[in-house]
Symmetry: C2
Subunit: 254 residues, 2 copies
């Protein structure tokens, strides 16, 4: 089983991003999609979307507290995003494993706006501890990648802080569920400097460089892309309202 942990938050492009991600996931056998909304309550949009998307899912929610929440005006690297949501996904797995017989499998953190090839899921499925691969369009580079020498990861191809223990994006690795259950306290935190989320979790799991299992043909293929969806500028909504007395219909779900 592949357990996908996807944080998501309300924005104009949310439904579009979830729709196209779901089309990808519908091609993947044996996945369980854990979707965690960054909100104090479950929204109607995500609830209805999940009900009809055709995937196996668990719907959770937890709000990022205002003091760490990113503002629309913040540069996108300023605040960590999805931290509490991913942690809630992890606790759900740990709790479920106690009450029900969770199928063995692997856990992958799949942001809602990235692009995933179908091959990626085949590569991660047989992860003993932690499997790794390159990620496209990230870190101000064409791609970032583990550097593999004779089948072992020796360092990181990245410009930004290559000295991090695990200098890779959230999209660049998957973890065997067993390992996560063996370390019940391992999780993400808003308290580390930026870029250290991945390293925090993997270090807490007792993972070493030599444990990493390179995938994607020895890390020579790009199978996942850190795409971002352009923010829509509603520059004409107000003008429409002023000219015709009303804007677009707020009952239309976009």
């Amino acid at each position: 089983m592949i357990y996908l942990i996807t944080p998501t938050y309300a924005r104009l492009e949310q439904k579009a991003d979830l729709v196209r991600l779901s089309h990808t996931l519908l091609h993947v056998p044996n996945i369980h999609w854990i979707v965690i909304e960054d909100s104090s309550t479950k929204t109607a949009l995500v609830t209805n979307f999940l009900r009809t998307c055709g995937l196996n899912y668990t719907h959770l929610n937890v709000q990022t507290p205002p003091e760490v929440k990113m503002k629309a005006t913040d540069p996108n690297w300023l605040k960590p995003r999805g931290v509490l949501q991913r942690n809630l996904g992890l606790s759900w797995l740990r709790k479920s494993s106690k009450t029900t017989q969770l199928e063995p499998g692997v856990v992958y953190f799949a942001d809602d706006d990235n692009t995933y090839s179908l091959q990626l899921f085949k590569e991660m499925r047989w992860t003993k501890k932690v499997s790794v691969w390159p990620v496209g369009l990230v870190g101000g580079l064409r791609y970032e990648s583990p550097v593999v020498v004779k089948g072992t990861v020796t360092r990181w191809l990245t410009y930004w802080k290559p000295q991090r223990p695990f200098a890779m994006d959230m999209a660049g690795f998957a973890i065997n569920l067993r390992l996560l259950l063996q370390h019940p306290n391992a999780q993400f935190t808003n308290a580390v400097q930026r870029g250290y989320q991945e390293s925090t979790l993997l270090t807490a799991l007792g993972v070493m460089l030599s444990d990493l299992e390179p995938r994607a043909d020895g890390c020579t293929k790009i199978l996942v892309w850190h795409t971002r969806t352009e923010k829509t500028k509603l520059k004409n909504e107000e003008k429409l309202r002023q000219k015709y007395g009303k804007g677009t219909d707020m009952n239309m779900e976009v």
Copy 2:
């Protein structure tokens, strides 16, 4: 049969966009994907991608001449995009209809970066002349839409040039193939002012407002989104090169 006409051009995000679009299209029965590269030759990237994507396709190419080609620094509304490519898709259909028995069906202009629900393809499949529906995240509004009164389109909900004969985005309509074959000269052109591509084609096809077939529950549902993929800033490639003597591996296809 649904004939999809998709212009595409080389950029960092091209493969990612094509990959996720293909995942959507793989869920749609009976489609033929006509992919037209904006380039003087067919690229290896698109050629290999199409060969392995699992879809029924035709691969064409035509380069936008430099005098009308958009520059990276141009605002995105300045120049028409995909005009020659869509026209080549139309000529391919017309030519093929003479030599082979093309299956009857509908033609839809599907840009490579939009987001399409699966329901959209069900809605367009039974188009007699031209079917229409709202498009999300376009025109500086949450959505633009035909305004439907008693089953008939009467005008356009859009802030920008609502007086255009067909004031809708390329993603907002599909055309019965027969109608296109009956008007062999109807096509797009770089010679009209911006926003008039859709109107040019539909007017040349002799379409009137009263011919339009509203879909998506009388144009009350958003089934397609004019998403755009953020341009990746390669701000660290040069720095990586300076610091380590080389950048990322240019043989890695991103």
